[in-house]
């Protein structure tokens, strides 16, 4: 196992025989990497905390942003993220079971448990991709002001959010989106919102059931809804219609929220993806009997450490992004 040249002084403390941490070289290096990686993630999350405390009164409420579950209509805050968390913890469990089976040299159980771990990881990455797609596509649409703030719309009678399509007017004579097939073929106009700012504003004027909701959070922890008159003055500052979120615009509120969402869950998702890839390699090695020949399954243990770390990070991301 050890590649060091052994001399007679091995048992001697000052002769190299001392093992203060009692771990093999590979395992220790994995731990070094994990500690430094943990600091990277902490840096991200601390930066998130910084921006959030800076805009503590206007930060989006995560419960109102992540409300979708695939194949189901309606408002289910947190449910899907909780499911993702459970999947990741579950795949962590099958990973420990694989490590445990490795210690007892049970090749077939290791293969089976590694397989389940990979499936769990794949489900998680898929869920995250779906969550990204939903977040990017957007929900109700909003209006951005000149100051870069977001104004959302609610229905006065029910208090529910109002989508732009619920009240925006369709005005004739508005400009047409440039397409490659008619005109400059090398020029692409990119994405245009489904309604122009003018159509939204006219629709708002005609529909007295629609109120404007600002980013500001009141003492009860809810977003402040303006009266019709206040809303009219506020809307004079409107500069464009925003649908969905990207690195520049965000219909859910502060742009920084979207930026951090993409960076933190993206960095984590990248870790899960590479974890699945490394797990696959180890899975094939186990199946080919590499570790059986080597006489121990320490590689499974090392990749297991990485996999649990990914789970550990998600526990923190879940708390600071979705719960707090």
């Amino acid at each position: 196992m050890d590649s060091t040249v052994t001399t007679g002084a091995e048992e001697n403390v000052w002769g190299g025989g001392n093992r203060p941490l009692g771990a093999s070289y590979g395992k220790l290096m994995m731990w070094f990497f994990l500690v430094s990686d943990a600091l990277t993630f902490s840096g991200f999350l601390a930066a998130y905390g910084f921006s959030r405390f800076k805009f503590i009164e206007t930060w989006p409420i995560a419960d109102e942003v992540f409300t979708h579950v695939p194949f189901f209509h309606g408002n289910y805050p947190m449910i899907y993220v909780a499911f993702m968390t459970f999947i990741l913890i579950m795949s962590s469990v099958t990973m420990v079971l694989a490590v445990d089976a490795g210690h007892r040299m049970k090749k077939n159980s290791v293969i089976w448990y590694m397989f389940l771990t990979i499936i769990g990881g794949a489900i998680f990455v898929g869920s995250q991709a779906w969550e990204w797609a939903t977040f990017i596509k957007g929900d109700y649409g909003a209006v951005e002001t000149r100051g870069g703030r977001i104004l959302q719309f609610v229905k006065a009678d029910t208090g529910e959010r109002a989508a732009l399509a619920d009240f925006a007017k369709t005005l004739p004579g508005e400009r047409v989106m440039h397409e490659r097939k008619n005109g400059l073929w090398f020029y692409d106009e990119g994405y245009q919102p489904s309604y122009s700012l003018n159509e939204v504003l006219e629709g708002f004027k005609d529909n007295s059931n629609i109120l404007v909701r600002t980013e500001t959070i009141n003492a009860e922890g809810e977003k402040v809804v303006l009266s019709r008159e206040e809303a009219m003055t506020k809307l004079q500052n409107a500069s464009q219609v925003v649908e969905g979120a990207n690195l520049i615009q965000n219909e859910y509120g502060s742009r920084l929220f979207a930026d951090f969402f993409f960076f933190i869950t993206g960095f984590h998702g990248f870790h899960v993806f590479s974890g699945v890839m490394i797990n696959l390699i180890i899975f094939f090695n186990v199946a080919l009997g590499t570790y059986e020949k080597r006489g121990h399954y320490e590689m499974v243990e090392k990749v297991g450490l990485y996999w649990h770390f990914v789970d550990l990070v998600w526990v923190f991301v879940f708390t600071f992004f979705y719960l707090v």
Binding site: W31, A46, K54, D63, V93, V96, H103, T145, F309, F316
Partner: protein
């Protein structure tokens, strides 16, 4: 190391017969904690939101503490730090804890200051 698993959690309150059994036990515990978090996150009890402790809502403190509890059991039982030498354990755990607390302290205090500048200073940003 491989054959020397410590099979008790909660300071010996719960003892397991085998390592496999302990793993499932920890899974049950982690699932319960997650379920509590999600339930609190959806219901948001009034009492916990209205009470503020050290500048943060009581509910948020509960979330953070439950997260640390979960992190402890993932590191101790899944990453089997429980079975490692205490010197390795301390090196791994205390280094990031110290550095992260330091960074978080600096950033949050600074953010709070910028918040007050935005609020009371002559800066227009919310228009």
């Amino acid at each position: 190391m491989a054959d020397a698993h410590k099979l008790e959690i909660f300071r010996g309150l719960l003892k397991f017969k085998s390592n496999t059994q302990k793993i499932w036990g920890v899974l049950v515990f982690l699932t319960i904690v997650t379920a509590i978090e999600v339930a609190l996150g959806i219901t948001k009890p009034e009492a916990l939101i209205d009470t503020s402790f050290l500048g943060m809502k009581l509910l948020n403190w509960i979330f953070i503490i439950l997260t640390l509890v979960k992190a402890y059991y993932i590191a101790w039982d899944f990453m089997h730090l429980r079975d490692e030498k205490s010197s390795l354990r301390r090196t791994i755990v205390w280094t990031p804890i110290f550095l992260v607390l330091y960074l978080v302290f600096i950033l949050l205090v600074e953010a709070n200051y910028i918040y007050s500048v935005f609020k009371d200073g002559f800066v227009t940003w919310n228009f």
